[in-house]
Amino acid sequence: MATPVMSYDPTDLLDVERIRADFPVLQRQVNGVPLIYLDNAATSQKPAVVIQAIENYYKSYNANVHRGVHALSEEATAAYEGARKKVAKFINARSSREVIFTRNATEAINLVAYSWGSANVKAGDEIIITDMEHHSNIVPWQLLAERTGAKLHFIPVTDEGYLDLAAYDALLNERTRLVAFTGMSNVLGTITPAEDIIARAHAAGAVALVDASQLVPHKGANVQALQADFMAFTGHKMCGPTGIGVLWGRRELLEAMPPFLGGGDMIREVHRDLSRWNDLPWKFEAGTPSIAEGIGLGIAVDYLNSVDLEKVHVHEQALTRHALERLRDIRGLTLYGPPAEDRGGVVSFYVEGIHPHDLATLLDQRGIAIRAGHHCAQPLIERLGVPATARASFYMYTTHAEIDALAEGLEAAKKVFGL
């Protein structure tokens, strides 16, 4: 099929070819053809600088942090704590003490649900989440509701893929303790009006948590501008390694919270009958942390700063417009979610007569990696009324030509199925 080969949109400011050269995995072949990686909402690829930073830590200054007085330990501590400062600046936190390193966003949300939740939520209280959450921002609240006897409410999603804010207003009341919501849907790509949602939560006297796992890597998030109380995100979706996530919280809230996990590093003193907790953020970081991964995340933040996330977002919106146009032309294909201007680089769809898993297998044959299934967001998939969807998700290194290849691959899959 003849399609114009365009590696970038002329209005685009990103030098995509140069960026692609930073990511070693993009050079590889899959099934004999160049990899087209369209599964960035699951995890992003890693630039060479991040991979090298991890290798360099293990090769040159591997040591435990916070306790050794020897040179290696001091170097490791400086690098690990330096990464925390970079992350704090990246999200405009008032202090790096508000940045707690966790294993991932899931652990960050669980930390709030257990620590803040057990101290602040009781029977009869209400928690509001939304129908477009990832399971990681549903299940911890279900567990909290079960433990405490609190009630869990869901903000519905409109047919266009937006949160129903009128319904949200109706759910808010003086019993609402917490509103937890995604900054950007991992299925629909919808960018939610986080500032507005938080302001309404505060007006009702509730605390607000943003699951920014998809938002931070693609658009960034400014916790002070948002006026958020908690924000969770993960390193591996933002060019960093797996095994490192972030909980940011307002200092007053974090100070008042009991510890989550007990053990080494989170204590100031331990006696047989009592222990005293360490200062923030270490109070919440029990045990030896993910040192290499933390350092790697710091380098990933440097990398994102060097690329400029504003440009990344513009690039991804151009890609999304292009994808929506190309996919809309495919007969029997249903697209989900709002128009490109209201979403990040995520496109979910369903091709009549081909199960998404079969689509994913056929596309894989052409080197194209997409995700198929419920994307860890079953309530939303149920709302869409399909058993599963196929999802293509983009990043700074995705090209228009790759989206053309996706569209061609979908047409070819239809041929295989005789459609």
Binding site: H357, Q365, G373, H374, F417, G418
Partner: protein, 134 residues
Amino acid sequence: MDAMSMYQEQILDHYQNPRNHGTLDEPVTIRREEYNPLCGDRLVLEMRVVDDKVEAVRFRGHGCAISQAAMSMLSEEIVGKSVDELKQLQKQDVLDLLGIPLSPARLKCALLSLKAVKAGVYGVPQYDIDEDDE
């Protein structure tokens, strides 16, 4: 593995024109629902056993071509078999019916049908098939 060979004519025929598809009239001796939460594949299998022989089978559900075609093929295979023979069905029997190479990720889809049959005849809440088992 060549994906095209995964979607050969026979598989697609069973997917698009499933045999023994629908709801079984009463009496239904064994009814079993299996669900693969990872994929969202779902199967409802109904069997009528008379004098220790499977007299009729119906199934319904939704999912990928592999899961649905495997159930369609297996449904033809089990009619006329005794309960003991169903208990002896192995993973390899289903793979032989499909006659295609499957990646580990897609093996689950193929074996959902066998899980439905086995859990049904044994009457257990869950029947585990060791996918690595040779």
